[in-house]
């Protein structure tokens, strides 16, 4: 569906991504995992066109990803933002629902799993970190692009909420949508992702299913943490 080739990004003299390449297959959940500062958010923002790249190419369904096609192909949900803080949660969600001409059932299906009912009348500015994350996830799921990029979708969520969001992401994939998620909690990544890209210090260390990564790391029954430590 989308391939990233030789992506390089520097901030001043600091190189944060070095020749990173990987592919995202249609209908899969691809996880981008790595420690803090590995360059995960930078990959997502370059892909979303919100950061200029130094070099590299993006190919979407066999053709170069132009700015126009990018807007039709993908939507990126950043981590830690506070969109339209003075507005109520309900208004922000309805704004996205109407902008993307979604049926009312779409938003209704998100209200339960993301527990949006209880915060609907609250102003975005007053939300806790977890509540804000749930609203951002809802906004992403209300968009209609075939590829959804999520930056740290489980950050700030408790155990029960994390489980509910995973279920929601799986049902989104089942509905035909492709997901590319950056996660620094490796246990969560192993539960939700079909394939994984391991990133460390701005370099792609490995890419594949859990079984393929285990084989690369020579760890037959190793978990992601062991695999990551073995490969980096």
């Amino acid at each position: 569906m989308l391939s990233v080739e030789q992506l390089t990004k520097t901030f001043g003299s600091r190189r944060v991504l070095a020749d990173v390449s990987f592919t995202i297959g249609a209908g899969e959940v691809l996880g981008l995992i790595g420690p803090n500062g590995a360059g995960k958010t930078t990959v997502l923002e370059c892909l979303a066109g919100l950061l200029p790249t130094n070099s590299g190419a993006f190919t979407y369904n066999g053709s170069p990803l132009s700015s126009r096609r990018r807007k039709e192909a993908l939507f990126y949900v950043p981590d830690g933002i506070l969109p339209w803080a003075p507005q109520t949660v309900k208004w922000v969600l309805t704004f996205f629902e109407r902008l993307y001409s979604q049926a009312p059932e779409k938003l209704a299906a998100l209200v339960g799993p993301l527990r949006l009912e209880e915060i609907g009348r609250s102003r975005v500015a007053t939300l806790s970190k977890g509540e804000r994350k749930r609203v951002l996830l809802a906004l992403g799921l209300l968009t209609s692009q075939p590829l959804l990029l999520l930056d740290e979708p489980f950050d700030g969520l408790d155990l029960r909420q994390t489980r509910d969001v995973m279920t929601l992401l799986r049902s989104e994939r089942a509905a035909g949508r492709t997901l590319f998620v950056s996660i620094h909690q490796l246990n969560d990544a192993a539960k939700v992702c079909d394939r994984l890209v391991l990133l460390n210090a701005g370099q792609r260390v490995a890419e594949g299913t859990l079984a393929e990564l285990q084989a690369q790391a020579n760890l037959k029954d190793g978990g992601l943490e062991e695999i990551f430590l073995a490969l980096t």
Binding site: A48, G49, L50, P52, Y76, I81, P83, A85, F95, L99
Partner: protein, 436 residues
């Protein structure tokens, strides 16, 4: 689909405006400013109209100078010190909160998103006009005279002034990291234009031409009842350039180098457009007392002069005679003669210690002939020009002149409206709308 998205974006910007404290503070303070200006102006106008003032003062009194310009002068202050913050907030709040990253991915181009912001800013500026419009209604209710063309011309000037402030604020917010830095950029621009106004006074040439498009100078021509198309075009171009500049710098997916290059290209295109616009000579004197024009008979006579006229002025920029000459003669001559060349030949700024032997002289050259005159009185100057050109001096005896509209009205109910009901209305509306 496109119009559907644009309407949604417009609704979002509208809600963001209503959630902006800067907007409500603008509304609150503009009421006080207009109220103070209006009550002071009406009381002073009454004094000059005969209730205690010198007997000659009522002659030629015009509500444009006496009431409308001072009352609406509050909007010049608001456009300089309040409205830019409304514009800055519309961009910098989304930059600082990270909402810009979502906004850029939403349907529609960046241009359409900025157009939505521009339209909502225009709406905000027009809503802020309510106290000024109330003042006009009050003035009429006192029996005061209003001449529609010059009043509408004044409103056009304030509309353009608001657009310029909006464009500047949006551009500053897009370039700067935060709202505070954007405010500093905006104020620096304003102070810079004031400095340019001061430096260029009576200097002539390019600097003076440039200074005639600063916000204060541009507004002044509207305040004098003069509609200069060059001013309208230049202010509109610069305002639009502000929004284009914002579009360049909000495109965060582009490198700084790319954005700098496009900014340079925009500046060049804007400069070319501004220079072209500044060359438009068309203007309309919409003042009721024709203060920007010679008498009708003189205008007809001047139109008969086809040869180029050169005027060399040996008066320094701060000499009050030059100010008189500019206001009473040169401004009108520029509108009446197609081929006019003016040279400012004084070498000092004040003229106090000028040892130049020609200081104080004004040379008129036409068709190879030259005369030297020291007077700056309109009739004397015109007669010299007629003599040089061989055109007969017209008979001005039929000119009736401007009667003036003296009225000794007191600003009844104005204090209650502007200092009590308006703030109450603004606070109540804010309170009700914040519950939405």
């Amino acid at each position: 689909m496109r119009s559907h998205s644009f309407l949604r974006l417009l609704a979002k910007e509208f809600r963001e405006l209503l959630a902006s404290r800067a907007f409500w503070l603008l509304l609150l303070f503009v009421g006080f400013l207009v109220g103070h200006s209006f009550t002071t102006a009406v009381a002073l106008y009454a004094e000059m109209s005969g209730s205690g003032g010198p007997a000659a003062l009522p002659q030629g009194l015009t509500p444009l100078d006496g009431v409308l310009v001072p009352t609406w002068g509050a909007y010049d202050l608001a456009a300089t010190l309040l409205f830019p913050f409304v514009a800055i907030r519309m961009v910098s709040s989304e930059k600082e909160s990270g909402a810009l990253k979502l906004l850029l991915q939403l349907p529609g181009t960046l241009g359409s998103k900025l157009a939505a912001k521009g339209l909502v800013l225009l709406f905000a500026w027009l809503v802020a006009w309510l106290p000024g419009l109330v003042a006009i209604v009050l003035w009429r209710s006192y029996g005061g005279h209003i001449y529609a063309p010059e009043t509408l011309n004044l409103l056009l000037g304030h509309l353009l002034r608001g657009l310029l402030s909006g464009g500047l604020g949006v551009a500053a917010a897009a370039i700067a990291d935060g709202a505070a830095s954007a405010a500093i950029i905006t104020l620096a621009f304003t102070v810079g234009t004031w400095a340019l106004d001061f430096v260029a006074a009576g200097r002539g040439g390019f600097v003076q031409q440039l200074a005639s498009y600063t916000p204060t100078a541009a507004l002044r021509s509207f305040e004098q009842g003069l509609l200069r198309f060059s001013v309208v075009v230049v202010i509109a171009i610069v305002s639009c350039a502000g929004f284009f500049l914002a579009a360049i710098w909000l495109n965060i997916g582009r490198t700084i180098k790319f954005r700098l290059l496009v900014t340079l290209a925009l500046l060049i295109v804007t400069a070319v457009a501004v220079v072209s616009g500044a060359n438009l000579r068309a203007s309309r004197d919409l003042s009721e007392n024709r203060r920007n024009s010679f008498s009708t008979v003189d205008e007809v006579a001047l139109r008969g002069i086809k040869q180029p006229l050169k005027i060399t002025i040996f008066l320094s920029p701060e000499d009050p005679r030059l100010t008189d000459f500019e206001q009473n003669v040169l401004k009108k001559l520029r509108r009446s003669l197609d081929k006019l060349d003016i040279e400012y030949a004084a070498t000092t700024r004040t003229g106090l210690f000028d040892s130049e032997e020609h200081y104080g002289e004004i040379w008129y050259e036409l068709g190879g002939q030259k005369v030297v005159e020291r007077s700056t009185i309109e009739e004397v100057v015109l007669d010299q020009i007629y003599t040089l050109s061989g055109v007969a001096v017209p008979d001005r005896s039929a000119d009736e002149g401007f009667p003036g509209y003296p009225i000794a009205a007191q600003p009844k109910h104005a204090a209650a409206i502007f200092y009590f009901f308006w703030p109450l209305f603004v606070i109540a509306t804010w309170w009700l709308l914040r519950r939405l």
